[in-house]
């Protein structure tokens, strides 16, 4: 796992404490860390250099305020810069006055063109349009068949015919006019940007159908090569927007930044899952945080919304505020949490997690003893762990195959935890919103070994949602 940028900065700024003013060499050191973070996120070398130069200007120009934590200030500058690059103008679809609105999909092999053609068709449909899909990938075996199956799933007709992709595309356009479909999406074969023949072919397709929008599909896991790919396709086709695919992986997605910076066209959509509805308009602010490895809170919440059962989550949270969160609740929520993926991954996405947790090598199996202990308790014991006396302890230890000491620790931690939650609940029943979350999380400190350095959530200037407890 990568160190987050804020962790690295913490190290640098610790040395600077008391200096009050950044020297040039301090700034250099900070910038080097920023560069490394960008490179590890697969931002292109040249792009990373440009970004770092711009940040240098801002960081030197900006007077660091004494009151604020300098590392947070720098992170804010960096994050804002990335958000600016990624965002800028957004793509708003203007439909052709004479339908159909023609969309051409292009990209490397395996970037996800066929799947995203279908996803895009589904999106247009949700906008009240009637799309027609054209399968002009006659290269890959069964690509057209794949598109047809997807078309059936979203109830969108698919046109294709064997032979020549350019003719197929042109005939598809005629077909759309004949059927009165108002959006045409043409899927093309994957091609290498250096394959002159294939690039010529896609240009011919483009000339034949004169697309209103040409989308380049880029895999979020792409490395340094993203830039040359984007440049080559842009040169050949004049790209209007980018579709970032496989964003549900754990790649930090620096390719998005590289491509946006190099061709200057917006990232229009992001594909966030295998299901055909996992397709959304792109959020630059979230991406900035992700590239910097600062935790992607919104994505985390979205995943949680899918994994947790809403009612039980709400109830558990309610009980938590009231200090009535039981071990049963814990077990229950733990099961749901597991659906979200490996804990180590979640820890990476959680902002403000203590270093002890982030750095810990956690295997999900490691939590099994904890689970075993709770499961070895009676329902009454789970509700009121304080009734656990010596003989109950022995029974639980035997039943869970653990030791009495472990049960003691669990019970003790849980009671500390409960106190903490009660306090948190008390605070958040009050007013004030924004500042509460860090404080609230920070309040968990006592329950944690080695303390809980709060404040890191402040490192999420962009993309960090309002998270007052009282916003329901």
């Amino acid at each position: 796992m990568f160190d987050t940028l804020s962790d690295r900065f913490d190290g640098i700024f610790k040395k600077l404490r008391g200096k009050g003013r950044l020297t040039d060499s301090d700034v250099d050191e900070v910038l080097r860390e920023i560069r490394t973070a960008l490179l590890e996120a697969d931002v292109n070398v040249t792009v990373a250099r440009r970004v770092v130069d711009r940040i240098r200007d801002q960081a030197i120009g900006a007077k660091l305020s004494q009151a604020l934590d300098p590392s947070q200030q720098v992170i804010k500058i960096v994050s804002n810069e990335l958000t600016n690059i990624l965002g800028g103008q957004t793509l708003k679809i203007t439909y052709a006055s004479r339908p159909p609105t023609v969309v051409l999909m292009a990209g490397l092999q395996g970037s996800g063109k066929t799947t995203n053609s279908a996803k895009l068709a589904r999106w247009f449909k949700s906008q009240g349009r009637q799309p027609l899909l054209v399968g002009a990938d006659l290269q890959r075996p069964a690509a057209v068949e794949q598109l047809r199956v997807l078309g059936r799933q979203i109830d969108v007709p698919v046109f294709s015919e064997p032979g020549d992709p350019v003719t197929t595309a042109a005939r598809g356009l005629a077909e759309a006019r004949r059927l009165g479909r108002d959006v045409l999406i043409v899927d093309t074969a994957g091609r290498l940007a250096i394959d002159a023949d294939m690039m010529l072919q896609v240009r011919q397709i483009s000339e034949a159908i004169e697309p209103n929008y040409t989308f380049l599909v880029i895999d979020a896991m792409t490395g340094q090569d993203a830039v040359s790919v984007a440049e080559a396709f842009h040169e050949t086709l004049a790209i209007d927007g980018v579709i970032l695919s496989k964003l549900d992986g754990d790649a930090r997605g620096g390719a998005a930044l590289s491509v946006k910076e190099v061709i200057g066209r917006p990232i229009a959509f992001a594909s966030t899952g295998e299901k055909l509805d996992a397709f959304e308009q792109f959020h630059p602010d979230r991406m900035a945080g992700r590239i910097l490895g600062m935790g992607d809170v919104l994505t985390l919440i979205e995943q949680a919304e899918q994994a947790f059962e809403k009612d039980s989550a709400a109830e558990a949270a309610q009980r938590m505020m009231e200090g009535e969160f039981t071990l049963d609740d814990f077990l229950d929520q733990m099961q749901q949490l597991k659906k979200m993926g490996p804990l180590s991954g979640l820890l990476g996405m959680m902002p403000g997690m203590p270093k002890e947790l982030k750095g810990a090598k956690i295997d999900d199996d490691d939590l099994k003893p904890v689970e075993a202990i709770i499961r070895a308790m009676t329902p009454q014991e789970r509700r009121k762990p304080e009734i656990i006396n010596g003989s109950r302890r022995n029974r639980i230890a035997a039943g869970s195959g653990t030791s009495v000491g472990e049960i003691n620790r669990l019970v003790k931690q849980f009671s500390e935890m409960q106190k903490m939650m009660k306090r948190m609940g008390g605070m958040t029943m009050g007013k004030k919103g924004k500042k509460k979350m860090p404080g609230g999380l920070g309040a968990l400190k006592g329950a944690m070994p080695g303390g809980f350095p709060g404040g890191a959530p402040d490192g999420m200037p962009a993309g960090f949602p309002d998270m007052p407890f009282n916003k329901r």
Binding site: A226, A313, Q333
Partner: protein
């Protein structure tokens, strides 16, 4: 409303993991460490019933009737097609098609008198551009810096030569030949292909199948990608082209079952080799990785022997490739890597990290679209192609 999820997650993690860490920190001797606990915990009734369930499912798969699967024999014409002989492409020819070649950088380095700061910057940039990654780049250059300082290396040419040598050394330790162990008739070798979406698993199987047919082995392809629409059709086309047999299940069916049945069918017909396809999956999807674990388990329960588990990685992949290799390796005991699409402008430098950090050898590379373009990985040729002018 959304914030409650965060709080719940925080609570569960902080508490659950907190307990764990405290236990670890206390270093409570053997009985308190989670790993040592494992066997004991398994005796808990609840756990036992869970594991019993898993076994049951597996047994259920094996019992699933093979009748549900179509077995398609490759066309007779196809079987004859395998005799075509391909000339092995050279790494240099295919890789130097690249526009974004590193060549310019190396020429720049050579053009300087002596080794300057710019030299180091150039080398760093070249390596990073090839997706070698910050860490490996630092390691490579730190070693060289020391040697330049001690005057062991004096001029740019020697420096470049030393860098190449270091890079080759990094890749030299591994055995790269595909493992095929001839067994009794009815005991096929099984090669399983895994990887994230869109890297070229199905295409690779098609090419490997065709090559193995040329070597005179009989091949059966098992269409374990039951998720992606028309994946089985795609594999079917390859089976036909190469004169291999195909076993497929229904779309959305259980991949373990399809692969298991493929192995059994191959065993019954005394076929030498089973190439098992799996659906592309992102390595951070727990449920899908669980499914793959099961595929791996079930595959070794059949009458064949799993002799290769090949992770297919796209050469355009950046630093995420390491995470892919780690997760897939952990889930399926990967034995080697297939690096595809190296004929594009991407350099595939992530293999340095994969080989040195995880010890996974790159066994095959894709240097083009034709069957003969999938070749055994040759580190020396690979590095020379990176540096060639």
């Amino acid at each position: 409303m959304p914030s409650i999820y965060l709080i719940l997650i925080a609570v569960v993690i902080v508490f659950g993991v907190g307990v764990l860490l405290v236990s670890r920190r206390r270093g409570m001797g053997t009985s308190a460490t989670p790993t040592a606990l494992q066997p004991v915990v398994d005796k808990v009734p609840v756990r036992q019933s869970v594991s019993a369930l898993v076994v049951e499912t597996d047994a259920g798969i094996e019992a699933e009737p093979a009748a549900a699967l179509d077995i398609e024999a490759g066309s007779e014409a196809g079987s004859e097609a395998g005799v075509e002989v391909f000339e092995r492409p050279r790494f240099r020819d295919r890789m130097s098609k690249s526009r974004a070649a590193l060549v310019g950088v190396f020429t720049g380095v050579r053009g300087r008198v002596g080794v300057t700061n710019e030299t180091w910057d150039d080398l760093e940039e070249a390596l990073l551009r090839a997706d070698v990654g910050v860490r490996v780049t630092d390691e490579l250059l730190t070693g060289l810096r020391a040697r330049v300082k001690s005057k062991e290396i004096a001029d740019p040419d020697a420096l470049l030569t030393a860098l190449q040598a270091d890079m080759i050394t990094r890749l030299s330790a591994n055995e790269r030949a595909l493992r095929f162990e001839p067994g009794e008739p009815g005991e096929p070798n099984v090669w399983l292909f895994v990887g994230v979406n869109g890297v070229g698993k199905t295409t690779t199987i098609g090419k490997v199948g065709a090559q193995q047919r040329q070597l005179g082995r009989t091949v059966l392809m098992a269409a374990g990608d039951t998720f992606r629409a028309a994946a089985a059709e795609q594999l079917g086309t390859w089976a036909q082209r190469s004169g291999s047999e195909l076993v497929r299940g229904s779309e959305g069916g259980d991949p373990s079952a399809v692969i298991f049945d493929g192995i059994q069918a191959a065993s019954a017909r005394h076929i030498d080799l089973v190439l098992a396809d799996t659906a592309g999956r992102l390595h951070n999807k727990t449920n899908l990785m669980e499914e793959l674990r099961k595929v791996r388990r079930v595959a070794s329960k059949g009458s064949g022997r799993v002799t290769e588990v090949l992770l297919v990685i796209d050469a355009t992949t950046g630093q995420n490739g390491l995470a892919q290799a780690r997760q897939f390796g952990e889930a399926t005991e990967v034995t080697g890597v297939v690096l595809t699409k190296l004929d594009g402008s991407a350099k595939g430098g992530i293999v340095f990290a994969i080989e040195t950090e995880l010890g996974l050898p790159v066994k095959l590379v894709g240097l083009g679209e034709t069957i003969g373009d999938l070749v055994e990985f040759d580190p020396t040729e690979f590095i020379e192609a990176l540096f060639s002018e």
